[in-house]
């Protein structure tokens, strides 16, 4: 495979064979050395072979190998000639991140950190069998799938203003709840308002560094103020929906005679019934994830309010933004000077619209969309803002996180005999998890350094650094 350097932060894989477009990877020189050995570059080439793909098959700097599409992959398709692929979204539809700000300071919570993390751990459902106190009826489920986060607000799990600071206002249009299978509904029935496990988490942290004072001020982020990151998705409902549609897509491939370099790229034309059905079901599952993060937000508000004996308003617990990491949706993008409606797939990638984009809430029109980049539980996370250059280069997309460096088994072998919880506590970070294995498997050393990932998108100009957050307490499943 030929790889050409465009500049210090962008690399081209020229099209060859069945590729319809070039691949473009955002990476540093050092990252590229490792990536050349990784199958993810071949996956970028495979995605470039799909019908109707536009411009380039893209890889963000946190790219790594996935099922079909790489994780950290972005691809946009023509609405008439293009396809939609569940593999370009992932099993965890609308896995994403929400960032909350507060008026609490590091000094206020440090002396009570251990108790606060224990409170979160007892209130936020994690692991097998844990569920939210609110009991869902079937009609509730269908409403959630149609309305997303707005359903939770209607039930008093939040405020109307929360919706302004969620991608798509917490509801992807065009959802059809009736396309969600009975099995998916059953799997999701007790899981609304739960965190899950694996790499999902709630992280209590603080603003440790500010790079752009004016933008940080608009976002409400001040140095040493406390923040909370929620990372979770559509739970069993979304996973089952993906599985259901993978089966339909296999049939669609045969029906529409779509030649695939990898069966895991199973897809259907966007114009087809199968394609439209997947997007409508995916939207419904995505709405479940938005509602899920809203429910967890409310649990956090209640926990903090009870713990500090102060009101939500007094504590100032508000959403900064909520982003999807795994999604496919129709968006308008300018191509060759003209507005064009395309279907953008982001799998382990974040939307990053620049200033003045009409999709942004009024409060953020001047600064661009917040882009939330969680790191591992030992180091830092970042708040970025989207740039218009992203709209030119990456269909308005940026990276999503650190990406794993080593397998779970490798992490366990490397950390054998070490007490990671104690080591992190020594550094001032309290971790509580339902599974001890998870702590080891999710150890900081198992992940790439997110700072390196963020540096690439910043230098490439597709996002700009606003603030760095440091962890204080982490809840995992």
């Amino acid at each position: 495979m030929k790889i050409e350097k465009i500049n210090d932060w962008m690399w081209r894989i020229p099209k060859e064979g069945d590729m319809r477009v070039d691949g473009i990877v955002f990476a540093s020189e050092r990252m590229m050395k490792d990536l050349r050995e990784d199958m993810c570059l071949q996956q970028i080439c495979n995605v470039a072979m799909l019908p109707g793909i536009l411009s380039h098959s893209l890889g963000m700097p946190d790219i790594h190998w996935g099922y079909g599409f790489p994780i950290g992959g972005v691809a946009a398709f023509d609405e008439r000639e293009g396809v939609v692929s569940p593999g370009g979204v992932g099993y965890d539809i609308n896995c994403g991140v929400r960032l909350l700000k507060t008026k609490l300071t590091l000094e206020e919570i440090r002396p009570r950190l251990k108790d606060l993390v224990s409170t979160f751990f007892s209130k936020i459902p994690t692991g097998i069998g844990a569920h939210h106190p609110f009991k869902l009826k079937k009609e509730d489920q269908l409403q959630i799938l149609a309305k997303g986060a707005a359903w939770a607000i209607e039930k008093s799990f939040g405020f109307e203003r929360d919706l302004d600071h969620i991608e798509e206002k917490g509801c992807i249009p065009g959802a059809d709840p009736h396309l969600i299978s009975e099995r998916a509904l059953e799997r999701g029935r007790d899981q609304l308002g739960t965190l899950g496990s694996g790499n999902h988490f709630v992280e209590l942290g603080y603003v440790d560094e500010i790079y752009d004072l004016e933008t940080a001020h608009i976002l409400g982020l001040e140095k040493n103020t406390v923040t909370i990151i929620i990372h979770t998705g559509s739970r069993g409902l979304g996973h089952q929906t993906c599985e259901d549609f993978l089966g339909h897509m296999e049939n669609a491939n045969r029906k529409y005679k779509i030649k695939l370099p990898d069966p895991q790229l199973a897809c259907a034309p966007l114009r087809s019934e199968e394609g439209k059905s997947y997007l409508a079901a995916m939207a419904a599952a995505a709405n479940f994830a938005f509602a899920n993060r809203q429910m967890i937000t409310h649990l956090i508000r209640e926990s903090l309010s009870d713990f500090f004996q102060r009101s939500f308003n007094d504590l100032g617990i508000e959403g900064v933004y909520d982003v999807c990491h795994n999604i496919a949706k129709f968006e308008e993008h300018v191509m060759n000077g003209k507005n064009r409606r395309v279907c953008v797939h982001r799998k382990g990638a974040t939307r990053a619209f620049g200033p003045h984009h009409p999709q942004l809430p009024k409060t953020y029109r001047e600064i661009g969309q917040p882009v939330l980049i969680p790191g591992d539980m030992g180091r830092y996370s970042f708040v970025l803002a989207g740039n218009s250059k992203a709209e030119q280069l990456t269909f308005g997309s940026s990276c999503h996180g650190a990406g794993r460096l080593m397998s779970r088994n490798q992490a366990k072998r490397t950390l054998k005999g070490r007490n990671l919880e104690a080591e992190l506590a020594h550094e001032g970070i309290i971790v509580r998890a339902t599974s001890r294995s998870t702590i080891t498997e999710e150890a900081p050393l198992a992940y790439k350094d997110v700072q390196e990932v963020v540096e690439v998108v910043a230098q490439a100009g597709i996002s700009r650094k606003i603030a760095r957050l440091r962890p204080l307490g982490v809840i995992k499943g």
Binding site: G236, S407, S435, S437
Partner: protein
């Protein structure tokens, strides 16, 4: 029972983000049984489970890969909807495919360790092949 020189029912192989397994069996029914144990051992610990609750389902006749995929998806379903950890399996060949009778117990954090949840059974590298005098399946779980 297993059928490989390593004398194992299953073993893990390295995978960056998720979990890869090689599962062994002397014949197809035994392969399914060991796949079930591998699944439950990945989530918890088969040896800690008291098999009090029974469930039954049919694996419709299909390719060995599709049947093993379907079987493992059923275990995810029982885990998500009833918090059932299934540890004992009896697989019987029938006209329509294979009838699975499985026994296990509801997850109890005081009795059963929790290692990880499994989101999905991927189709990645999914394969059932002959191996020495038996069968070997390759499966990757999405965690």
């Amino acid at each position: 029972m297993n059928s490989n020189p390593k004398n194992k029912n299953y073993e893990y192989f390295d995978h960056t983000a998720d979990v890869g397994l090689y599962i062994y069996g002397s014949h197809f029914e035994n392969l399914i049984e060991n796949a079930g144990k591998a699944f439950t051992d990945t989530v918890s610990d088969v040896s800690c489970i008291d098999p009090q609750i029974s469930v039954e389902f049919l694996l419709k006749k299909d390719s060995p890969e599709k049947m093993i995929h379907h079987f493992l998806n059923e275990l995810i379903y029982f885990l998500d909807t009833r918090q059932l950890l299934l540890s004992h399996f009896m697989i019987t060949k029938v006209k329509e495919g294979y009838m699975v009778q499985a026994k296990g117990d509801v997850f109890n954090p005081l009795e059963h360790p929790f290692k990880t949840a499994i989101k999905a059974i991927t189709h990645h590298q999914l394969q059932v092949e002959t191996y020495h005098s038996g069968l070997k399946a390759t499966v990757v779980f999405d965690l």
